[in-house]
Every structure is written in structure tokens, then in C-alpha cells.
Subunit: 496 residues, 2 copies
């Protein structure tokens, strides 16, 4: 049962609002294990739709799913020098493989005789174990490309965790591809970024900027990291997906060469790309309001909920007849419907629950509606209600769901556009960054400048745009900090 | 590329045949981590179909998916006394959460300062962490039942591993339900066994016996374990799925009580049920032959493959025209089709590859066929070929796939029936068990008798049947070992 104590408002405390909402809307909760979450059925149902929508799009790009081991030998992590710097430090380490009864009392203790020869790391990401495998799969150009993805859990021992946004264990997909040429690999990395952007905008209704990361923000071991960046309602940036061009780094570390058509040996070119349950955090923070979740219809586990309001069993049955007919019609159109005739709660309680849970459309029918052949249709996104004739309502609802999907996308885009502005001096930057949003600034391209700005303001370069977007025009200028020349503005923001 | 060195035959060395087949058919392989497998794209595609078929059936039973933590605090395992005895011993134990650069050289070492206060175990199964969670979800009868399932990886530190059959890490689903009454919980455990049995027989084409485990073979912590048992081609038994009635054991260990309608507190009743990637092993060993995999059409990633045989590009194009038309027609019928016009291999090489990979139907078309408006249709199950007119062939193929599905089920059932026989004396038992198969015997119901038979013959009671099956009739008799009375025969076999 959801908890109906009033949600903290976003204005009052944005961070508290988020934490409360995740729990009250039955999406996820903390577990008994530090930093690891339980994803509850309602939250998982949304994640399943995210998975199936992405999986279909991956397969259209020729991707096949596979599964690689959870554990990685410690020595593998040191094989790619930059990679170990970026990843190896905070992780879960398996050192033993047996428990025994505690000789001094009850319970069990680690058996010291069962120490592993080499420690195993729970995967923080799988480049190393996968490239050690690809070595055996690749010998000739005939074996390329390899386009694999896995849906799995990964672990990074984060010190400060927040549900969905930063957890020690999280669920994700990681794609790992192997190509004969640099050009093909780079194209593929960009193609997968396009897949992510298209998914984020059309399915999640989250507008995203496409770009590349500055060297400071690149994935450990990548030559180039493509990313999509979203803006949350508190004006902070959230990286929603990344696609890496890894060059030949992992192929060299694991000695993966192939015989070309010209009978020469060459190292293989690689990409990797991933999105995670962090997307759930982005979803919540982009659309939801002080009344609870707002879900885009394309992701909502229930798109239309129907609640009868009745005085007696005869009236209930008459209403349910109408609801059942409509529900069949909607299901045949592919719409996810629920009729809530449960006697465990009042209509008012149900209304509040479905509002909290972000069901896009709520239909109520009472005695008067029954007489008039109407229903009350409530939209979650605008919180408006209308009385609509039952006649032809299925088509009406179908287009209403699309309208809601478009409306919440547009609302998020308008918000982002309003919070995106050009800033030309460092003085102004230091003031403006406090207000949140994306600051479009010239930058001299050096890590030193980026680091100093980060140290002084906490802002980082979220991306160097590769496509235009509302509020952005490509133009040369001078770095806000050093005055050195810059050929285009980059996007600065405080990030999650 | 598949490896076409001839497969060891089943007669020559059954175990070697299996190991070779799994690798040559590109299903799975050993990884760099002891006992952990890589599931390759072709094997994973079969697993994905298994998942989606089961998932749909679970949801029809009201089940919702969720996700619980990978790691379990060590102390949780000791909470349910029998459970820790059955499970805790061989497992992967996380003791540290940080690596650091090796002060004495290159690479990384475990940071001794980052020792966990309490060790964490990689889940061997999740009853304990889930019941610690359910405690917070359940307070009243209104919260019941809870019907959750998770698809995840689990780990048991097996000493001797075999791909799919017994691996340290494997993939599975585990359902965990909470009920208000004993009756409801027991019914649900049986319902899920029915779901498994129906799935095994209709989708995997594997005949299974339904029954309950003897106390010796029960799940650690269960009051009753329902199971489905299959027979492999070497006459050994393989447990293909289990569903446990857990009574109130876990509710008591984690103090999960609910307020009844009568305002009393009572402990909650539980079930758990699971199947794993072990089903892949059962699939391979039930149907495949000395030429390679035989896949039931309902699970085959490619159900119909089309191979052109051509002398020149014009002929190829003419054949591809016909293939493309047919492929569209088949896809519209929901049939998974592949056209292999690749120039990387000869038709003969392709035929061998698709045979090895168990594609149910292969279609070849050459110049003569083109003139005659025919194709050659080859069945993988019977290895027979026929020349068929292209006219009306889509419908023919659709029913052929169903015929193949039924045929391989019937073949497996006939095999099992032939290898199932009644045995009435222990002398005969000791001889017969060497020949493999299921022995239907009277047993006095004591663990001592079962243990002595196991010690002397390696045979165990696979199940106490709860339903009749070909070759079985319910009748009273005397225990083969002790001569004590028995009210029905049980199934003995050597098991995987």
C-alpha cells in the first residue's frame, strides 16, 4: 500500500522530494545491504518496458545478446592501464569460496582454508572479460563485426548512494562491438548514441543533447565518449547514456588481432555503450510534480485506469459492464488498461494513489455518468478533468495518450530551453551557474581550464555538442576563463 | 565460425558428445573464470525464448517481476537453520571493497584497510534477502498475496562444473510468494509446478514426470518440494524445475507476521520456485543426435533457413526473389526465417552448419527447382528430404513445424517409456540401475533406506509421482530393500 502522507514539494527540498517519491510511488527502496536497492514491482515494470524498447532497437542494428561472467580476475583489470585507473579502486572483491560453522558458537564464518589464489572482482563493467573472450572468437575478417550486448547487474562501491541515481549494484545493458576498421567502429559508436537519443526522446519523453565528452570526462580506456545529456527540474545535468569509441586499446591489451582480406594481421577496433537503471532517476526527475510521478504513456505500466463510483451492487455491475467493454476495445488497440473495482479503498483514495503513481489517464464513472452515457477523464500531466461521451471514447483515449506523450516532452524541452543560456565572462559564469541550467560557453580546449572551473564552481563540461539544439548556434569566440580562441561553445552544468 | 571436425558420437562417449556439442554449436564455452561460462549469442537466443515464454506464463498467474540485491549479509544465511546447512558452505564471499596500486610493483592488490565489517555472500538463492524485505511490505491481509519473481544470476561454488548443467554462476528465475493461508501457498506451489510442466512439454518438447521429492532431496528449508523430472538419452534423470512449499519457516526466521481479518497476528506462508540455464542442458541432451543439435521449433532462433544453390548471379537473383517472397509470407505467420545468401561458405558447408545448429527446416533451391517451381525441404529431426511445390508452401511449412514439434516430443516420450520399468527386488534393482532409465519401485518411506540404496548404487529417488504417466500404475507393495509396506511406487534413477 502506498503511503499517503503528503510528498515534500520540489520547491521545499528537491532532493527530499525525489527520495520520498521513489519510495512512496513503490518504485524502489533501500535494502539490508549498504548501497544496494530493491527494485519493487511497479518500478521494475517500467524498467522492463525500457528494456524491451531498447532491446528491439538494438536488434534492428544487428546486435545479439549474450552473457559473460559476473566475476573478473583481478589481474585483468590491470591489463588496460587507463582502465584500471578509472575503475579498479572501489569495487566488491571476492577472496574466499567457503563458509564453515563457527567453531566458537552459532552462525557461520569464512573458512580461512578456502582463500582464492587470485581474487575476483564483481564486474564494474565488462570490457576486460569480454575482450579476453573475443580473442578466441576472432581470427579473420570473416568473424567481424561482432555486435554483442548483455543485460546484467554491475557493481561499483559508491560511498554515497541514492536510489536509481547512484547505487552500489545497478542493472544495465552493455554493448561491446568489434570491427575491422576504425571508421566502422566510430560510425557504430555514433549510431548507438543515435539509438539512445531517439529512445530517450520518443519513449521516455526526455529531450537530450548529443555530444562528445571532454578528455577529462571520458570513459577510462576510451579514445572518444559520445553522450546524451538531460536536464533535470532542478537545473542539474544528468548523463543519460554513453557510447565509447575504444580504438584498439582493449584489442592490444588482450592481443586480439585478425587476418585481413590482404592476409595481414591487424588489431581489432572496439566500441562499448551502455545505459542503466539510472534512466529511472532521469525519468522521475524530468517529468514528475509535487503530486507524484508523471509517466510518459509509452512507459507507463498502466496507461488508463478505470475507477467505478457506485452506491449499490447493481450500479457497480452496470458500470463494470461499460468498463469491461471499453477495456477490451482498448486492449485490442494495444493500450495497457486496469479496472480497479477493489473494495479495499475508496474512490478518493484510489484517485490519490494513481496520481502518485503517474498513471497518465484516469477514468471515473458514477451513477450520473451511467445515465448520460459519459465518463470523467482526468489527465495526469495537466491535472485537468473533462466529461466525455462514451461513444467513440476508445479512439479519443488513444489520441489523448499520444497528446500526453508529446505534451510532457514539449514541457521538458521548453524548460530546458528556458534554462539554457550563453555566458561570455567568467564573472557572469560564477553567478549564473548557481541558478542551475546549461551554460553555453567558449572554452580553450585544455584540461587545466576545465579543472579550474570545476574546482571553483563544481561545474563540468557536460558535452561538446555535435548537433544544434534550441538556444545553440555554432560560432567561434574566446574562452571564458583564459580568453584563448575557441571554435564553438560547450555545455557547462552542475551534474548528478 | 563453427568447427566442423566430426562430433564424437553419443554411443562412443556420451559425456564427450555433450561437451563438444555445446561448444561446436556455439551455445556456450568456458570463461577465464573457473566454473563460470560465457553464453554465446546462439545459446542466449534460445535462453531468451525460454525466458519470454515462461515470463508470459508467470504473468498469467499474477506474478510481477522485481529485483533484489546480488549480495546477502553473511548473518542472514544462518537465520533459517536448515537453509544454512543446505546452502551456505560453498559460495563466493566478498570481504573487501577496494583495490590499490601494488606498492611493490605493477598491477593492483586488495587494500587491507577496506575490509567489510560483515562479509557479503553472492546469492546462491534469495529466500533470506527477500524475506527480510517482505517483512517491510507485509502488515495486513490486504497486502497478501505477494507474487514476485526475479530473473537474475546466482552463484554456487561447484567443484566439478559442466556447461549449463552445473556451473558456478548460472542464470535463473526465482519466484517468491507470500500467502495468508497454508492452503493457498500449497496450491500456488503446485500451480507453478504445472506451469513448468506445461512449458517443458509444449515448448521444450521434453516429457516430464511430476512429483514430490523425498525428505532427503528436499530444498533446504522447504516442507515440501514439488519437481519435474526429465530423462536424458543416456538414461539419466535431470531435475528440470522445482517448486517449494516453505511453510512458515522463512516468515518465522525473519519475523513476518500479518494482521488477519479477525485482527490476529499470524505468520505468513511461503513458496519459492525456479528454473535455470540448466534447462539448456536438458534441451540439448533430450533431443540432439550425432549430427548436432535438434531444436524444437518453438524454441529455435531460426525455424526455417533458406539456402540458394546457384551457378551465376542471374540465377542467384531469381532464387532470392522467390526466397524473399516466401520469407515475407512466413514472417507474417510469425515464423522465424533466415535467408543465407552469404558468399563466405559453400552450400554444403552451410547445410552442415545448420544441421549442427539444429535449425528445424532447411530449404534449398537450385536451377532445376527454379524451372520446376519447387524447393528441397529438409527436416532436421528425421534428416529426410522432399521436393515440394512452391505453390502453397507457406502453409505446408507452418504445419510441418508443428509436426516436428510433436514428433520430437513423441520420440522423447517413447524413449522414456521404453526406459521406464518396474523392479521388485533389490537384486534386480542393482542390475537394472546399471542400464539407466527410471526404475519404479516400492520404498518404505524412510531416509535410511534411500541413503543405503544411494550409497550402494548411486541411485536416488527422483520423485514420488503425483500423477500417472505411461508405464506407471498406482498400487501398494513391499519395499525393495526392507520388504516393509509401501502404498505406491517411487521413481529411482541415477541423476545429473
Amino acid at each position: 500500500m502506498a503511503n499517503f502522507q503528503k510528498l515534500t514539494s520540489r520547491g521545499e527540498d528537491y532532493s527530499k522530494w525525489y527520495n520520498e517519491l521513489v519510495v512512496k510511488a513503490d518504485l524502489a527502496e533501500q535494502s539490508a545491504v549498504r548501497g544496494c536497492m530493491v527494485i519493487k514491482p511497479y518500478g521494475y515494470a517500467i524498467w522492463e518496458t525500457i528494456q524491451s524498447e531498447l532491446d528491439r532497437r538494438f536488434k534492428e542494428q544487428g546486435v545479439k545478446n549474450a552473457y559473460f561472467p559476473l566475476l573478473i580476475p583481478k589481474s585483468f583489470l590491470s591489463r588496460e592501464a587507463e582502465h584500471v585507473e578509472g575503475f579498479a579502486k572501489e569495487c566488491a572483491i571476492v577472496t574466499h569460496h567457503r563458509l564453515k560453522n563457527d567453531p566458537e558458537g552459532k552462525g557461520v564464518v569464512v573458512d580461512p582454508d578456502a582463500r582464492l589464489e587470485e581474487e575476483l572482482i564483481i564486474r564494474p563493467t565488462s570490457e576486460t572479460i569480454i575482450w579476453s573472450t573475443y580473442k578466441n572468437w576472432i581470427s579473420s575478417y570473416r568473424d567481424l563485426p561482432i555486435l554483442c550486448n548483455q543485460w546484467c547487474n554491475v557493481m561499483r562501491w559508491e560511498m554515497r548512494t541514492r536510489l536509481f541515481l547512484r547505487t552500489a549494484e545497478f542493472l544495465w545493458q552493455e554493448g561491446h562491438t568489434a570491427h575491422a576498421t576504425q571508421e566502422e567502429a566510430e560510425d557504430y559508436a555514433r549510431t548507438m548514441l543515435d539509438v539512445y537519443a531517439d529512445f530517450a526522446e520518443r519513449v521516455m519523453a526526455i529531450p537530450v543533447l548529443k555530444g562528445v565528452k571532454s578528455p577529462n570526462e571520458r570513459f577510462a580506456g576510451a579514445l572518444n565518449t559520445y553522450c546524451i545529456e538531460a536536464m533535470m527540474q532542478d537545473g542539474k545535468a544528468l548523463q543519460a547514456g554513453t557510447s565509447h569509441f575504444l580504438g584498439q586499446n582493449f584489442a592490444k591489451s588482450f592481443d586480439v588481432q585478425y587476418l585481413t582480406k590482404e592476409n595481414k594481421f591487424e588489431y581489432v577496433w572496439a566500441t562499448s555503450w551502455g545505459v542503466s537503471t539510472r534512466l529511472m532517476g532521469a525519468l522521475i526527475m524530468t517529468h514528475s510534480d509535487d503530486n507524484g510521478l508523471v509517466l510518459p504513456p509509452h512507459l507507463a505500466p498502466t496507461q488508463v485506469v478505470m475507477v467505478p463510483i457506485f452506491r449499490n451492487p447493481e450500479q457497480l455491475n452496470a458500470i463494470l459492464d461499460k468498463f469491461n467493454t471499453l477495456a477490451s476495445e482498448l486492449k485490442a488497440m494495444g493500450i495497457r488498461v486496469k479496472i480497479d473495482a477493489s473494495d479495499k479503498a475508496t474512490p478518493g483514495f484510489k484517485f490519490a494513489e494513481y496520481e502518485l503513481k503517474g498513471v497518465p489517464v484516469r477514468i471515473a464513472m458514477g451513477g450520473r455518468d451511467l445515465e448520460n452515457g459519459t465518463v470523467e477523464v482526468a489527465r495526469r500531466d495537466t491535472l485537468t478533468k473533462e466529461t466525455i461521451a462514451m461513444d467513440g471514447i476508445a479512439d479519443y483515449l488513444k489520441s489523448l495518450l499520444e497528446e500526453i506523450q508529446n505534451n510532457i516532452y514539449k514541457k521538458a524541452l521548453d524548460f530546458r530551453t528556458a534554462k539554457t543560456r550563453e555566458v561570455d565572462t567568467y564573472e557572469e559564469f560564477k553567478e549564473e551557474i548557481k541558478k542551475g541550467g546549461f551554460l553555453l560557453c567558449h572554452w580553450d580546449g585544455t584540461p587545466e581550464t576545465e579543472e579550474r572551473i570545476k574546482a571553483e564552481t563544481k561545474a563540468t563540461i557536460r558535452c561538446i555538442p555535435t548537433e544544434s539544439f534550441p538556444g545553440y548556434k555554432e560560432e567561434a569566440g574566446k574562452c571564458i576563463l583564459t580568453g584563448k580562441p575557441s571554435n564553438k561553445r560547450v555545455v557547462f552544468a552542475i551534474a548528478y
